[in-house]
């Protein structure tokens, strides 16, 4: 007998095809539809062209926001794109994934004035989409310097660094561990934030400047180590992400149905057919950051009936911004705070629930209260943070100074080795934002150029 649509949707356990393909298509469209020309003009009119604008200060890449918005308002969309991209070559992706509500738009004086900031993120997307659709290239390479530089990782930090290095006339080889470029832009961000294969288009747009050779399936490890890179290149930039995932730290063997949220997110981004991705009927996501929200919302969009985010502290301490929390809530995700995982319940080798302990602050310390609650769950996601990863540590710790498990850098991205720079999530100085990784990659490229020209 063929299962009805309702039966499919409500089947217990982890199962694929809960929703029809048409429903999935609707669910995974652009979460923020782009502005059309009229909307962009109306939105741009609201910018006050502030002096020493707070939005620029709030932007990790210091994009001249009043300038690009003014350019949009006068019909010079191309000029606007150039203004953005000269500071942030990944301005297109940042326009999609930046938590603008805690960066530029929070700083916008109209947020203070009316609680309604200028739609800076959407305006940035309007300008960069326009230029990228026409493949307008704004930057030319300076005369060849004869220097070659290794960039490890083709994510936001590595790409921003590679582009700026190529601009300065260096030859760049990018060593990417995966078979595809983009890093977290390609594997780590909810599908509804970057539709239509944008991450790959952006890589093509960036590398079109020339002088950037990306080599795939080249993880740092025994075959490719830092020593070798330093021997073969004039400088090295390390821009790999975090390869490890924090464990829940629960006793006993982990049952089937427990999974890392980052793997689920990557799987969704790479899936040709989202209907083939299995998802539970009742899901618990442990964590409180963007990854938890991206995972929970997408699980819901795949057709999970109940999705609960459990966070061990108060909701106001979650790393996910209030905006992200609201996005989760409007998609029917329940956020429960002051709960920490205690024990997974198992049935026939698969997870069937999770027992959590209520928590509270006691003398500035988070402690369990002893009171327990058990939530039914046929799938549990870990989203409690990522780590540098054992492989990275083992490969690098003998040569490089680490700090809190990540690469120690100064403001310009210099490491303890004079010919090695680093930026992005693998360093101790980031905030795990795409835009910060871009700024660090760009600034390291400037520092490398300066060092090599002495």
């Amino acid at each position: 007998m063929v299962a009805s649509a309702l039966e499919k949707r409500l089947q217990d356990g982890v199962a694929a095809g809960r929703l029809k393909s048409s429903e999935l298509k609707d669910n995974f469209t652009d979460v923020h539809p782009p502005l059309d020309k009229h909307e962009a003009l109306v939105a741009s009119d609201r910018c006050y062209f502030c002096y020493d604008a707070p939005c620029v200060t709030a932007c990790p890449t210091s994009i001249d926001i009043p300038q690009f918005i003014r350019e949009i308002s006068t019909g010079n969309t191309t000029g606007a794109a150039e203004t953005i991209l000269e500071q942030n070559i990944l301005g297109g992706m940042c326009a999609r994934v930046c938590p603008t509500e805690t960066l530029c738009e929070q700083a916008c004086v109209r947020e203070l004035a009316e609680g309604k900031p200028v739609q800076i993120g959407l305006l940035q997307r309007f300008a960069t989409d326009d230029a990228m659709e026409q493949n307008k290239q704004f930057f030319e390479r300076k005369p060849a310097t004869g220097k070659t530089i290794a960039v490890v990782g083709a994510g936001p930090a590595g790409l921003a660094c590679a582009h700026r290095l190529a601009m300065h006339g260096h030859e760049v080889t990018v060593y990417e561990a995966r078979k595809k470029p983009g890093g977290l832009n390609e594997f780590g961000i909810a599908a509804y934030k970057t539709v239509d294969d944008f991450a790959q288009h952006e890589v093509d747009y960036i590398t079109a400047i020339g002088g950037i050779d990306i080599k795939y399936n080249q993880p740092l490890g025994s075959k490719l180590n830092l020593q070798k890179l330093r021997q073969n290149h004039d400088a090295v930039f390390l821009g790999m992400g975090l390869s490890g995932v924090n464990a829940l730290g629960l006793k006993g063997k982990e049952p089937v149905g427990v999974m890392d949220a980052v793997d689920f997110i990557a799987q969704l981004r790479q899936a040709k057919n989202k209907g083939k991705i299995a998802v539970g009927r009742r899901i618990v996501v442990i964590g409180g950051g963007m990854t938890a929200v991206d995972c929970a919302v997408q699980a819901k969009l795949l057709g999970a009936e109940e999705v609960t985010i459990c966070y061990r502290r108060g909701q106001d301490q979650m790393n996910a911004s209030p905006y992200e929390q609201e996005l989760a809530a409007t998609h029917g995700v329940v956020i429960r705070d002051w709960l920490q995982p205690q024990k997974l319940k198992t049935k026939a080798g698969s997870v069937s629930g999770i027992t959590l302990e209520y928590t509270q602050m006691n003398k500035k310390k988070l402690v369990g209260t002893g009171e327990m609650i058990t939530l039914a769950a046929d799938q549990v996601f870990r989203a409690i943070g990522q780590t540098f990863g054992d492989e990275n540590s083992n490969t690098l710790e003998d040569e490089l100074k680490l700090d809190k498990g990540r690469i120690a850098t100064n403001e310009e991205g210099a490491t303890s080795l004079s010919d090695v720079w680093a930026g992005g999530d693998c360093t101790n100085s980031g905030d795990d934002l795409t835009v910060t990784a871009v700024a660090q990659g760009r600034d390291a490229a400037e520092a490398i150029t300066k060092a090599l020209s002495v």
Binding site: D45, D52, P54, V109
Partner: protein, 436 residues
């Protein structure tokens, strides 16, 4: 409740809001809609002499400039006087006036500058029962090339001559509509008075090229790649109009001559300002063409509410009240000292006051205090120019505060004098005759 009924040189209307002679008053259909909406009167779109009707362009007639959010600030037109048959217009004027006897019906006229032409048309208009006529000496485009409109309004002698012909021929009040495209508005106004005009109305539109198409380098509105200057109107011309109204209002030779104020009136507040500067009523066009006739409701309720709040019972309590306060620069009190003050609670920290003052004025506004973004007036530098008030996006955030007499002006280091003192007696004025 304030009484806003209006008597303008003997023409009565329930309120002082008339529609100006323009596209909105070209035919019975529009005018009846206007009366239903509550307009106190209309000046029917300008009639020309009998014969083959006027021909208009068949391409665009209007161009515009906009402010933020595409708010229309200025409109420019190259439309001519009515292109409908004279007798059809006259018939409709008669019908509408009969149907709406309490509303003012004034008919705008423009015929060649010959006595017979004026004397022929006036009885036809009189026969409609219209309340008055308005002589269109104002339109700067098209008809002026044929010796009419602004071509007459720019020559005071012609104004006086034609006005006299009309006054000799008709019982109807004669309103002379003036063009702003002259150097001193007092001369045409005096000429109108000398010719016996019952009133003047102003301003007509300002000669203008509204914009240039940068693809084909044609002025807008573009007719097959060419453009001609048009008549500019709308909120952008209001300051020009206010000044011209005031100039006539305070000129000894034209004092007491009724003025119908025209030029960018969009809200009750605009209208009240015209009345205060001496206009006996107002005429509106662009605002109606932008938003429709309904705007008159806000004008009526706003004017009444303001008058009630201020205790003004009738329009006469308001009309001309600001005229004595319009003076020449040389009589302004140089001992009146102000400083800008920024209300830190309403400041949104956009910094526009700072950069305007820093780049273009007197370096009198901070941008930092103890390492924090903070905008505050430096009294030692502030000349009280008001630029910061004007560029601030938040209303009433920056105010100009008077430095009281006896207090030291931090900029000059001198005590503020209580006594009125102007340029005519200032020691730096070389024309001052030293007291013997």
């Amino acid at each position: 409740m304030a009484d806003i009924s209006n008597d303008f040189c003997g023409i009565k209307s329930p309120n002082p809001f008339w529609l100006a002679s323009a596209p909105p008053t070209d035919k019975a259909y529009n005018v009846e809609r206007a009366f239903k909406a509550g307009w106190g009167g209309v000046v029917w779109k300008t009639l020309g002499e009998d014969g083959p009707p006027i021909v208009n362009v068949n391409g665009p007639r209007y161009g515009a400039i906009w402010g933020a959010d595409r708010r229309l600030l200025g409109l420019n037109n190259i439309e001519l006087i009515t292109d409908r048959d004279l007798h059809l217009n006259l018939r409709e004027i008669k019908e509408v006036k009969a149907k709406w006897p309490d509303r003012a019906m004034v008919v705008s006229l423009m015929v060649p500058c010959e006595e017979q032409a004026w004397k022929s048309i006036l009885p036809l208009v009189e026969e409609t029962g219209a309340d008055g006529i308005e002589l269109n000496f104002g339109c700067p485009h098209g008809m002026s090339e044929r010796g009419m409109g602004a071509a007459v309004g720019q020559v005071p002698e012609y104004i006086e001559m034609v006005t006299r012909w009309c006054k000799q021929t008709t019982r109807m009040p004669v309103i002379v509509k003036l063009t702003p495209n002259i150097s001193d508005i007092r001369y045409p106004a005096r000429a109108a008075k000398a010719g016996g005009a019952d009133a003047v109305s102003l301003i007509n539109t300002v000669s203008s090229i509204i914009s240039v198409n940068l693809d084909d380098f044609s002025p807008e509105p573009s007719i097959d790649g060419k453009g001609s200057h048009g008549g500019y109107c709308g909120p952008a011309v209001k300051p020009i109009a206010l000044n011209m109204v005031a100039e006539i209002g305070r000129d000894a030779e034209t004092a007491g001559l009724p003025i119908s104020g025209i030029g960018g009136i969009t809200t009750w507040r605009d209208a009240a300002e015209f009345l205060a500067l001496g206009a006996g009523n107002v005429q509106v066009c662009t605002a109606a063409m932008t938003y429709g006739f309904k705007i008159v409701e806000e004008m009526i309720s706003g004017l009444e509410a303001w008058m009630d709040t201020q205790g003004h019972r009738t329009l006469d309590d308001v009309i001309g009240r600001a005229v004595p306060n319009v003076t020449d620069w040389q009589y302004l009190n140089l001992n009146y000292v102000t400083k800008a003050k920024i209300d830190q609670d309403s400041c949104i920290k956009c910094g526009r006051c700072h950069i305007a003052c820093e780049d273009t004025s007197h370096q009198a506004i901070t941008n930092m205090l103890d390492g924090e973004r903070h905008f505050e007036v430096i009294d030692e530098e502030c000349v009280g120019c008001n630029l910061c008030v004007n560029v601030c996006p938040v209303e009433s955030c920056i105010t100009m505060e008077q430095v009281p007499a006896g207090q030291v002006d931090a900029r000059t280091g001198k005590k503020v004098v209580k006594k009125y003192g102007n340029w005519t007696e200032h020691p730096n004025n070389p024309s001052v005759v030293a007291a013997e």
